[in-house]
């Protein structure tokens, strides 16, 4: 069954691509069918625990679904379907639709493949398919191809090769590629390998989940890919890194005596990722970039949770994984809709779309609230649990760091909302209409999903609980959340609902108030036409107040921003290229020199022949 689903995806991808050559509509239809039919089959036909074997090159590839991967596959499939529906209108009239559909389908396939892989070889194969299909997506629009695309690919390749090395070493030492075997027999490795392998694997997963020193590809890649894909990219694809990290943390690091140290290091890295990415997000003027950095930041929270590794932290992390996929998916869809309707995503150019695109605004609002972690919505639940887990673990400084990041997160959340939707309407954007229904519905669905999960978190706790049991945590009988002050002090989860309703009522009131009252008595002033101190601004100078929106804040954090890791990498890369350029001058182009090399080599071998051949 699993094989059939994966094959359907693969065949569908090719058929879609070919069909798209015939006519765009056929391509669209085929695309939807390709995503939805296997996805439906996945929901209905696949049961947890089912195992398939495939033989290749003397290796046995084992595929099956575990509770943990079931949790992640829900994200993949769900997000996949919604984004597919969203993508059809989004891609209408754009170039390279065929390539988009092809890679989209392949990405979904690859992610499902990763999740069902029970051995490292198939895990790696799908991992690489995922990498190159997402790479082709990142460079699909042809902007900044060499810089962004290559950066993404280099980091992915480093990660992938680290994983490859880890898996061949494990295979040679333990004689099996099966994940279960490698985890169970981890103790049999030599001490060096016991350290080496987790580090290699963590590098691999850290790249995908944009962990701090390896994150530099992420903002550019997220913002460069088509928005209809970025939702999947940030929501599901980067979660594959988390998936791997959970496996490694629980099964390998736990068995190490030095495990706590590694855990702490990773947790701190995650914390820094969260904080730094948040600061970076604040300074962005482009919605895509902002969300991209925000994604990196959120991954930081998740990494902290996974690294701490207490049941509560794990619960928080996995909860955040799911809800992050939802609200970030929704937000990227929002940006995509705005891009589709206005043609730009720059805060400094767009104003006051709240009336033009109300439904988009509503989904953006709900998702942003969730992102910021404001109480009633899902983001709050996960963050709260994370703080608690950290405090239980006596990581107070880390809590402060995360709390700082989370608070700073409000700033960019506000910037996002304000940048697009609030403020004065510009005549320039008067023609803008609401996005097509097929684009609005998916994002609304996701937004409502966050809402529901924020209200009824126990809906998610069940599957997370069984996933955690699968990776080796004690069964909690469904009362894992009993550890949380939030839930135990207030008695039961149900008590969240009154709060929510109250907040919602206030919120609706203000919304209605603004709706009726807001625009009355205001006068139109072009936001782009400000003269200051007698200096007449030139026409092309954009002097809206949105330029340097957060200037005072930016001034404060400037010292941090200066230390951009990206720059170090670039310098390193340039150095390497110079070295390469120097090295290739060995080939002087003079045939005689080559002959001299031959004689030189001969002389060297003759001189050292005793060392070589005894």
């Amino acid at each position: 069954m699993i094989t059939l689903i994966l094959l359907l995806f693969l065949g569908g991808a090719i058929v879609t691509w070919l069909g798209g050559k015939l006519s765009p509509i056929v391509g669209d239809m085929l695309f939807l069918v390709t995503i939805i039919v296997p996805a439906g089959m996945f929901f209905t036909g696949v049961t947890v625990g089912e195992v398939t074997h495939i033989h290749a090159l003397g290796l046995t590839l084992t595929w099956g679904l575990s509770p943990l991967s079931y949790l992640f596959s829900m994200i993949v499939v769900g997000l996949g379907i919604l984004l597919a529906i969203y993508a059809v209108p989004f891609m209408k009239g754009k170039q390279k639709t065929g390539a988009f559909y092809f890679n989209f389908t392949l990405s979904v396939m690859a992610m499902l493949g990763i999740l069902v892989s029970k051995d490292w070889v198939s895990f790696f194969i799908f991992w690489e398919i995922m990498t190159w299909s997402s790479y082709l997506m990142v460079i699909l629009n042809g902007k900044d191809v060499q810089r962004v695309g290559i950066k993404y690919f280099i980091f992915s390749a480093i990660g992938a090769y680290a994983m490859l090395m880890a898996m061949v070493v494990m295979n040679s030492q333990l004689g099996s590629f099966l994940m279960a075997d490698t985890f169970n027999n981890f103790q049999h490795l030599t001490v060096g390998n016991q350290i080496l392998i987790p580090i290699l694997l963590l590098t691999a997963f850290g790249v995908k989940s944009a962990m701090m020193p390896l994150h530099v590809w992420a903002p550019d890649a997220y913002s460069n890919a088509p928005m209809a894909y970025t939702g999947l990219f940030s929501g599901a694809l980067s979660k594959m890194g988390i998936y791997g990290m959970v496996l490694v943390m629980v099964t390998m690091i736990n068995q190490l005596p030095e495990g706590t140290l590694i855990r702490d290091i990773i947790a701190w890295i995650g914390g820094f990722t969260a904080a730094a990415a948040t600061l970076w997000a604040i300074t962005q003027d482009d919605g895509k970039k902002l969300l991209a950095w925000s994604s990196v930041g959120q991954m930081g929270y998740i990494i902290v949770g996974v690294a701490i590794g207490t049941p509560l932290a794990m619960l928080a992390a996995l909860f955040l994984v799911v809800v992050h996929a939802m609200f970030k998916g929704s937000l990227f869809m929002v940006v995509g809709a705005i891009e589709k309707q206005t043609g730009t995503t720059d805060f400094r150019e767009i104003n006051g779309l709240i009336r033009k695109m109300p439904w988009t605004f509503i989904s953006a609002l709900i998702s942003v609230i969730a992102l910021a972690g404001i109480p009633p919505l899902a983001g709050f639940v996960s963050k709260w649990m994370l703080y608690e887990a950290l405090i239980q673990n006596n990581n107070y400084i880390l809590v402060i760091l995360l709390f700082f990041a989370s608070t700073a997160g409000f700033l960019y959340c506000y910037k996002f909302l304000h940048g697009y939707f609030l403020g004065q309407e510009e005549p320039e954007w008067a023609h803008v209409k609401e996005a097509p229904v097929t684009m609005v519905v998916p994002m609304l669905l996701l937004a409502i999903g966050t809402f529901v999960l924020g209200t009824f978190p126990q809906l998610l706790f069940k599957p997370i609980d069984s996933a955690l049991q699968y990776v080796g945590y004690d069964a909690t009988g469904g009362h894992l959340w009993g550890q949380s002050i939030l839930f135990s002090e207030w008695g039961d989860v149900v008590t969240l609902q009154p709060i929510l309703y109250a907040v919602l009522a206030v919120f609706v009131f203000f919304a209605l108030f603004l709706w009726f009252k807001g625009t009355k008595g205001t006068r139109y002033v072009s936001t782009k036409d400000i003269s200051s101190s007698g200096e007449l601004p030139k026409e092309w100078e954009n002097l809206t107040f949105k330029v340097n929106f957060m200037q005072p804040f930016e001034r404060v954090i400037e010292p941090f921003l200066k230390r951009q890791i990206d720059k170090y990498y670039t310098a390193f890369g340039n150095g390497l290229e110079a070295l390469f350029e120097f090295t290739r001058r060995i080939y002087t182009g003079n045939g005689q020199t080559y002959a001299i090399y031959a004689i030189l080599f001969l002389a060297l071998l003759l001189l050292f022949r005793v060392n070589l051949f005894g």
Binding site: I129, M165, S172, R584, L605, L606, L612
Partner: protein, 495 residues
């Protein structure tokens, strides 16, 4: 059995001598006959290979003198496997260049196809022969065809490349003869199996010197690092299909020769270390040089050299798995590199300088060719689910089994470099705006067929690697079974 190994040499030679005559009667025959011959050889190779898989190696005696005395040809699972690849590639190259040359006049066509056929024959001879001096003769045949084909285009650079190749080739043949004579003077025989069986009687000093001379001589042909200066020039300046033939056929033969000496004939343990060192140098320097190339074909050439380095490292591991991986890499390289050369030469067909920037935006103009190039690029860097992945995986497994962690790390690091330069080209093809006004050239019908066949092979091996693994295993076993090789040759009789 439908034929014997000697037909691999005799039939093409007979045809080569016949072609000038038939050409006087029917001009088209000079182009068709080589193709027919190669097709026949392919059938023969496949038949013999399946026979060998069941019945064990065939040792063909020549001139009626049993092995230690006369020359013999050995067709076993290892050499047969390589011969099959080579003949197959030869046929594809012929098919690819068949229409390609339709506008060239008779004389040029005659020479081109003749030389091409002899290039294949010479390489096949290197692989099949069981006599060290006979191998020298075949190396010269291959060499002269190679020089001529490199200089085949009348531009000035092709002559320059050919001259460099020739200088290196001459030096190689000098050292090769020296090495052969040292062995002869010590053991009084030229037969490989005989030499191998008596090798333990040889003074270690002579052993080392002659082995070093062999390494230099064959290393020049096999593009080992300090000796491979000629290779990029020759690859880049030879006509497109010939570049493919070099990487798919000639280098394979030279690698075979070197491996045969290391594994079967000499029993020096240090030889494996040498292979690893040399292979790593080749790999690193070539990939590093490739990333800075401006010309597409030169880049491909350097990449090809790099792959050979990987093959050497893999052989140098010295385990059966290592040999298996090396053969797998060679097989994949033989399939993928020609595809890259073929599609690449169409991508820059009309461009004068053939720089990489000339492929900008080709994806729109020549979607099929571009797609195949991308497929080849993805495959050669080892991205699953294409053919290259499996060979890389089996190599890494072999290396890991021998605990060569540093080497694995180094090779994977270099792989990143390789990835970068291939992806840069793919990026340019599909995601850049067309800068020049040159139009794309439509591949000919034959070229379509050839490239499609290669692409299908890449996909088939990628999705179903077991389709070739039996042959690879047999080949690896047969290389490893030294005593069986010696025994089967020395007891060979006239069939």
């Amino acid at each position: 059995m439908v034929g014997t190994p000697v037909l691999f040499i005799a039939i093409p030679l007979l045809a080569a001598f016949l072609i000038p005559l038939t050409g006087m009667v029917w001009k088209e025959s000079v182009r068709i006959i080589p193709g027919l011959i190669l097709a026949y050889l392919l059938v023969l190779a496949i038949n013999l290979l399946s026979y060998v898989t069941v019945n064990g190696p065939i040792v063909e005696v020549i001139a009626g003198w049993a092995p230690p005395i006369g020359i013999n040809l050995v067709f076993n699972a290892f050499s047969g496997f390589l011969v099959t690849i080579m003949v197959f590639m030869g046929l594809l190259v012929w098919l690819y260049s068949y229409r390609f040359k339709s506008n060239v006049e008779y004389e040029a066509a005659r020479k081109y196809f003749l030389l091409l056929m002899m290039l294949v024959t010479g390489s096949v001879g290197i692989v099949l022969t069981g006599d060290i001096f006979n191998m020298f003769v075949f190396i010269e045949i291959t060499g002269i065809s190679g020089y001529a084909l490199t200089a085949f285009y009348t531009g000035r650079d092709s002559a320059e490349a050919s001259f460099k190749y020739l200088i290196m080739g001459s030096i190689a043949s000098v050292f090769l003869l020296l090495a052969i004579m040292i062995i002869y003077s010590q053991l009084g025989t030229l037969n490989m199996a005989d030499v191998a069986s008596k090798m333990h009687l040889m003074d270690p000093k002579y052993k080392a010197v002659s082995f070093i001379l062999f390494v230099i001589a064959l290393g020049i042909e096999a593009e080992v690092f300090p000796l491979n200066g000629w290779a990029p020039d020759a690859y880049a300046e030879a006509p497109g299909p010939v570049g493919a033939a070099f990487s798919g056929i000639v280098v394979k033969a030279a690698v075979y020769a070197l491996i045969r000496y290391t594994y079967t004939i000499f029993d020096l343990s240090g030889a494996f270390d040498l292979l690893i060192i040399v292979g790593l140098m080749t790999l690193v320097i070539a990939e590093v040089a490739a990333i800075r190339q401006e010309k597409l074909k030169r880049m491909l050439a350097y990449s090809s050299i790099g792959q050979m380095g990987l093959v050497f490292v893999s052989f140098g591991i010295g385990t059966k798995e290592g040999v298996f991986a090396a053969l797998f890499i060679m097989l994949n390289h033989a399939i993928i590199k020609p595809l890259l050369f073929f599609s690449g030469s169409y991508l820059v067909y009309h461009s004068k300088k053939k720089t990489i920037s000339d492929v900008d935006g080709m994806g729109k103009l020549a979607p099929f060719t571009s797609l195949l190039f991308a497929l080849g690029a993805f495959s050669i860097v080892g991205l699953p689910p294409f053919a290259g992945f499996w060979s890389k995986l089996s190599f890494l497994m072999a290396a890991a089994d021998s605990n060569m962690l540093l080497i694995i790390g180094l090779i994977l690091t270099v792989s990143v470099v390789e990835l970068v330069y291939y992806m840069r080209v793919v990026n340019r093809i599909f995601f850049f705006k067309r800068a020049s006004h040159l139009l794309a050239r439509r591949p000919t019908f034959n070229a379509y067929i050839v490239m499609s066949v290669l692409a299908v092979l890449i996909l088939v091996i990628g999705f179903y690697p077991d389709s070739v693994s039996t042959y690879l295993h047999n080949a690896a076993n047969s290389l490893f079974d030294k005593s069986q090789y010696i025994h089967s040759v020395l007891t060979a009789t006239i069939q």
